[in-house]
């Protein structure tokens, strides 16, 4: 029956795309929100504490990484909404491939995140931001960002399966924001108290942001973090992917 795995996963991905077509406004809001954050932090709040050089060179990669982490909320909301509806029962009572529901979810979310990165890149370009590295390094940076998003996706799925109800997403949002901001996305850890700086440097988001700055050739970027930016998301996936798949299979038992 594994021959149906691709077929069923594609059907489930198409389902998510059909949702987009039904509610383009929702997709648009999801794409515009990170742009708003970028504009807000770039101009309104005018941060850049402890940052050497152009703040945009520092901020844009940070915003990219932050957007990937915040994507967790969208995943969680979508999964809890599905669980709350009876439609999951129908999927589970059908002879479809195991995991097709989750694969469809992740394909659609990754697509949305890739689109989000494209929009954010375009806006940053208009604002005057430039990647200074090679094109290969640029693509590598996007790959690292999407890898982080992929890890967040499975954390989101597991949290959704544990929480069960859409109302619980709010509780998680309260947790996601500090994780998002306790990072070097917006400000350099050197500007923070020592203990906080340590927490911030260990944050997987920070590792990805630092590596992406490096790959974009941002002036003054720390080097040597690329492997950490690969290892952290892989480590998270190694823990959360099997947990999420197992939890989904054991729903209701």
């Amino acid at each position: 029956m594994t021959s149906y795995a691709l077929n069923d996963s594609w059907t489930m991905t198409r389902r998510e795309l059909a949702h987009w077509a039904r509610q383009p406004a929702q997709v648009l809001v999801a794409l515009v929100f990170p742009v708003m954050l970028l504009l807000m932090f770039g101009y309104l709040i005018g941060g850049g504490r402890g940052v050497d050089g152009e703040y945009l060179d520092f901020l844009v990669p940070g915003m990219f990484a932050l957007t990937m982490v915040f994507g967790l909320e969208g995943t969680m909301l979508a999964v809890t909404q599905d669980l709350d509806k009876g439609v999951i029962d129908r999927f589970r009572s059908m002879p479809m491939a195991d995991g097709a529901v989750l694969v469809g979810r992740s394909a659609a979310d990754m697509l949305q995140s890739a689109l989000g990165l494209a929009v954010l890149t375009a806006v940053a370009y208009v604002l005057g931001w430039r990647a200074h590295g090679t094109f290969g390094a640029f693509l590598g940076a996007l790959g690292l960002l999407l890898l982080l998003r992929f890890a967040m996706l499975w954390i989101g799925i597991l949290l959704a399966l544990v929480a069960g109800k859409p109302e619980m997403v709010q509780a998680v949002q309260i947790l996601v924001w500090p994780v998002g901001f306790l990072s070097n996305a917006l400000a350099a850890p050197q500007s923070m108290p020592d203990w906080l700086g340590t927490v911030v440097e260990w944050n997987p988001l920070s590792q990805t942001a630092t590596a992406v700055r490096d790959l974009f050739g941002a002036p003054g970027a720390e080097t040597g973090h690329v492997w950490a930016a690969v290892a952290w998301p892989l480590a998270l996936l190694a823990v959360f992917f099997p947990l999420a798949v197992r939890k989904f299979g054991a729903l209701d038992e």
Partner: protein, 319 residues
């Protein structure tokens, strides 16, 4: 020929609650079997176990010739499920839903499209276009849900309280759809809280109480267990209840009296003979009645009868 559904000694507990406590049930191929019982009797738990959504703690479950635990996928290819809540993608239209489910049943894109068209036509949903299911009426939603359950012409169809929450028109629509399936060879297991629904649709009725089967038989057999038809007499003057019990042609031991409602109720196996006897006796004694009615036993009465002594272990009554 083996039965379509075989349940032997199935147990399922949630914490300290025994949702199913050693349940046995057999459903013959091509028959409609109703599971009747109050909330919490274990009806939905049993349907979820039979439709592979839930794993039993113990016992044997076979559906369409396959073990529902070890060969879940084989079972899934042969069943349709209409759960208590609409199992549909509310954001999408009716056709989109059916085509998606059809592809997931591996009908192939073309066949899925054709089948979706047929079912929309059959359930009067052909003109719904792209309208999202969340804008459907309750009855339309139920019909689409039923259509989705029938995409593969399942051998066994589970209907979990298919009409709960529907208005009378929606209920009639669902009943008509279920009746149209009978004769097509599909085995139907239907749960309900309404005796009338079981009566209308089912060949046999199994009564569930606290996770056990307390009776299993045809509707007539069950009603006979509860004492058959009853007569209700409502008096104008509640003070005359005691006198009326003595003078009516009924066995006083079998008469129940509800003082608040000024009501006498008694078994009336003889129907018309009992009715005329009661009317004559009332008139002769000059006792004024507000209402006199013959009726079938209610689910409450069948149920109270079958679970007479809550302290005792309910014995299985096979009729």
């Amino acid at each position: 020929m083996t039965d379509a559904i075989v349940v032997e000694g199935v147990r399922k507990r949630y914490g300290d609650t025994h949702a199913l406590d050693g349940l046995d049930l057999r459903v013959g191929r091509g028959t409609v079997h109703a599971l009747l019982g109050p909330n919490g009797a274990g009806k939905t738990t049993l349907v979820r176990i039979l439709s592979t959504l839930l794993r039993p703690d113990g016992g044997l479950v076979e559906v369409a010739g396959h073990d529902a635990v070890t060969r879940a996928r084989e079972v899934r290819r042969r069943i349709g499920l209409l759960g208590q809540h609409a199992a549909l993608d509310e954001e999408l239209g009716g056709r989109q839903n059916l085509e998606m489910f059809g592809r997931l049943y591996h009908l192939g894109a073309r066949h899925a499209r054709v089948r979706a068209g047929e079912l929309l036509e059959r359930f009067g949903l052909a003109d719904t276009g792209r309208k999202a299911v969340k804008r459907y009426s309750g009855g339309m939603r139920r019909r689409l849900d039923l259509a989705a359950s029938l995409l593969t012409d399942p051998e066994v169809l589970f209907l979990d309280e298919p009409t709960t929450g529907l208005d009378p028109r929606g209920r009639a629509e669902v009943w008509a759809a279920v009746r149209s399936l009978v004769g097509g060879g599909t085995t139907v297991l239907l749960t309900t809280q309404y005796l009338e629904e079981a009566d209308q649709l089912a060949d046999r009725i199994a009564v569930l109480d606290r996770g056990r089967l307390v009776a299993d038989g045809t509707a007539d057999e069950l009603k006979a267990l509860a004492g058959g038809d009853r007569i209700d007499v409502v008096l104008r003057d509640g003070g005359q209840l005691g006198a009326a019990v003595a003078l009516l042609p009924l066995a006083p031991a079998e008469v129940s009296v509800d003082v608040d409602r000024r009501l006498l109720s008694a078994p009336a196996a003889g129907r018309m003979k009992v009715l005329t006897g009661v009317l004559r006796a009332l008139e002769d004694a000059g006792v004024e009645a507000e209402d006199v009615a013959l009726r079938r036993p209610t689910l409450d009465e069948v149920f109270l009868h079958l679970t007479d002594d809550p302290a005792a272990t309910p014995a299985k009554e096979t009729v």
